[in-house]
């Protein structure tokens, strides 16, 4: 970032992953909420793709994203040109702070006091709400899950279902405490009361801020995917609509969108399509009777152009933010979204956040994976997430002289002790005679094997050395 952050927002120490993960694991409520939610999402996804040639569809998704990335600067310029022709004003921000300032300036120019927000992960990345509050502008989330999380003064624990960590009882208590709603376990009642409160806010908000799922260069169209209708309210009712998005969200055509949309909603929530697919290509025209008078798009870089430099890391930018990787992640399922302490949790967070916050701050993220590959298997655009995790592990210990590390903060996890252990290990395993002697001796003196082996034996017994190694037994067989 080029200048010091103007606002601090909520600062969570990402490095404190272990204590947070441990706390989550020992919290039966967290365990139960995430397990049952993720089980449901996995089974819905499976059903939603029945009858599809899923591999071919995923190949298409991957190619559409790769093609867009290959043409990224051209597409951004085409998008800007089309949007401008359509009457949408385009802004560029190198980082989150600049994006915040752009939003503030638009608000100030309109003398705006209140902002209503549709769901936008990029605005979470920018910590926009806190920034606007500091500037004296009220920013209220309108997606029900985001609204709940905001009332609780928390951050989303899932990119699609922000309040997945809370159960009905907690939400009822929260709404009661903060808004005076009656205590109830009736979800319909709770939803209806939120509707009433938020309708007032929509009518009175000066500015609506939303995210973007796809920005279409060919037609100059901003596409938003949602179920609630709050996104449509946010982008239609206030006189000014500001969309914020990452620079990687641009695609070339509506045809590209038709492929990605088929993948996105099915991967995310197992829906064939969401209730609303909202395509915005301009502000209200003179003869129109509703819609915002002004529409802005803020294109946010915030580390993305750095990711773009490297052929392998580039794949991170294919992401369409469906959340399927977290739904299928056995680690995420156990620890929940807050343990990560990052805007984007789960597998995508582990490969994306180190670029946004640096590998020093995010050093524990790439290692918090068993590399089981479930994320890569379900990714609708075939991001090789496990390979990228291994790459970032290498970067975090500066482990490859042939391919020097590039990511900001690389090498932060390297310890001379660990490096020495691996050097010793490599020396032994690259010398067959020494290896055979060592393993043979270990077998021979296996009675001396300690029954404790660090963290391993906190949960398990130690594996027992065999009386003879396979090498010895094969030799005895004459092989």
């Amino acid at each position: 970032m080029s200048e010091t952050a103007e606002h601090t927002g909520h600062h969570i120490d990402v490095k404190e992953f272990h204590p947070r993960a441990q706390a989550a694991i020992h919290d039966p409520k967290i365990r139960k909420n995430f397990r049952s939610a993720m089980d449901g999402l996995m089974s819905k996804r499976k059903t939603a793709f029945e009858g599809w040639d899923l591999e071919t569809l995923r190949d298409l998704g991957a190619n559409v994203r790769l093609r867009a990335l290959a043409n990224l600067p051209d597409l951004l310029e085409q998008l800007e040109k089309k949007l401008t022709e359509n009457g949408i004003k385009v802004h560029w921000a190198v980082d989150g702070d600049e994006a915040c300032r752009i939003v503030r300036d638009i608000c100030k120019a309109r003398d705006a006091k209140t902002v209503i927000k549709g769901k936008s992960m990029v605005s979470e990345e920018m910590e926009l709400n806190h920034y606007l509050e500091e500037q004296g502008i009220e920013a209220l989330e309108s997606d029900l899950g985001e609204y709940i999380v905001q009332l609780a003064d928390e951050t989303p624990s899932h990119i699609i279902m922000p309040a997945i960590h809370k159960n009905t009882g907690e939400i009822s208590q929260l709404l009661h405490d903060k808004t005076g709603t009656d205590l109830s376990n009736d979800v319909e009642y709770l939803t209806a009361s939120a509707r009433l409160q938020l309708r007032e806010k929509f009518m009175n908000a000066d500015v609506g801020v939303s995210g973007v799922n796809f920005a279409v260069a060919e037609t100059g169209t901003l596409c938003l995917v949602e179920n609630e209708g709050n996104g449509r309210m946010t982008t239609t009712v206030p006189k000014c609509h500001i969309a914020v998005t990452g620079i990687e969200k641009v695609v070339s055509s509506m045809e590209d969108v038709s492929a990605l949309l088929a993948l996105l909603t099915r991967s995310a929530t197992g829906q064939h399509i969401t209730t609303y697919f909202n395509m915005i290509s301009g502000p209200r025209k003179a003869e129109e009777l509703d819609g915002p008078e002004e529409v802005h798009l803020v294109l946010v870089d915030n580390g993305r152009s750095s990711i773009y430099q490297d052929d392998e890391l580039l794949d991170t930018l294919r992401c369409i933010r469906c959340g399927a990787c977290m739904n299928h992640c056995p680690v995420y399922t156990r620890v929940g979204g807050h343990a990560y302490g990052t805007t984007y949790p789960g597998p995508i967070g582990k490969i994306l956040m180190p670029h946004l916050i640096g590998l020093d701050e995010g050093r524990h993220l790439p290692s918090a994976s068993s590399l089981c590959g479930a994320c890569g298997e379900v990714c609708p655009v075939k991001i090789p997430i496990p390979d990228l995790l291994v790459r970032l592990r290498q970067e975090s210990v500066d482990g490859d002289k042939l391919h020097p590390a590039k990511v900001r903060g690389h090498g932060a996890k390297r310890s001379s002790m660990e490096a020495m252990i691996w050097k010793g290990w490599a020396w032994m395993h690259a010398s067959p005679g020494i290896y055979r002697f060592g393993t043979g001796a270990a077998s021979k003196f296996r009675a001396l094997q300690p029954s404790k082996a660090g963290a391993w034996t906190d949960y398990r017994t130690a594996p027992k050395l065999a009386a003879k190694t396979l090498h010895q037994r094969m030799k005895e067989r004459g092989q």
Binding site: T191, T236, F277
Partner: protein, 217 residues
């Protein structure tokens, strides 16, 4: 240097060099040519699976069905388009079994509170539908503005069976969306809903609680 130039320059001068552009084969999105009957069946199945309602109608009787639907719901009024044939027909019919007919012919600023608080139902046309996902295509305009299909608790949409496409890909190609899009276009696939409270579905969270489709065959 402006942020725009900084970003574009970084992207253009990528250290990894030029990227290869892969071929994109969209044929996986093309579905077998379903018959009109199959399309209607699929559309109905899909939209009902997300809590939408479908009524099969003809040019002669859709208004009877509409009146019935509004009466059972006790709707006091119905927001209709001014110029579209649906609105014209309703006004010309002069029926006494229909509720008060409202027209959205003023800018939202002059009647926002009324729209939000007093309108019970709306009826709009569609630019066709998508069978595979159970979706309606709407291009709001000054006759049928954006909020018509969003704010009232009941949204009734009229869909001609002959305008039902198989997939979004087909619809978008057939209607040549690449040539230009309106200020706002929508796919609507069911009533507004949320599962944000413990994954329990609740309808009508911000938009309509009910979506009723009259298919004209």
């Amino acid at each position: 240097m402006s942020s725009r130039e900084t970003i574009l320059q970084r992207l253009r001068n990528r250290t990894g060099g030029e990227l290869t552009v892969p071929e994109c084969d969209f044929s996986v999105l093309v579905r077998d040519d379903w018959s009109t009957k199959e399309r209607i069946e699929r559309f109905e199945k899909m939209i009902e699976s997300v809590h939408g309602e479908v009524h099969h109608c003809t040019e002669d009787m859709w208004m009877d069905r509409l009146a019935e639907l509004l009466n059972t719901r006790g709707a006091r009024n119905l927001l209709i388009p001014k110029q579209h044939e649906i609105g014209q027909a309703l006004r010309d019919a002069g029926r006494d079994d229909l509720p008060e007919l409202l027209i959205y012919d003023e800018p939202i600023e002059s009647w926002q509170a009324h729209l939000f608080n007093e309108v019970d139902a709306s009826i709009t046309s569609t630019r066709g539908g998508i069978a595979e996902t159970g979706s309606l295509i709407l291009w709001p305009n000054n006759d049928e503005p954006r909020l018509m299909s969003l704010v009232p608790p009941v949204h009734i949409a009229v869909l001609k069976a002959s305008e039902l496409y198989t997939t979004f890909h087909e619809a978008m190609k057939a209607q040549n969306w690449a040539a230009g899009m309106p200020t706002n276009a929508l796919l609507i696939s069911g009533p507004s809903k949320t599962a944000d409270i413990e994954q329990t579905l609740a309808y009508g969270v911000h938009g309509p609680k009910e979506l009723i489709v009259l298919i004209i065959e």
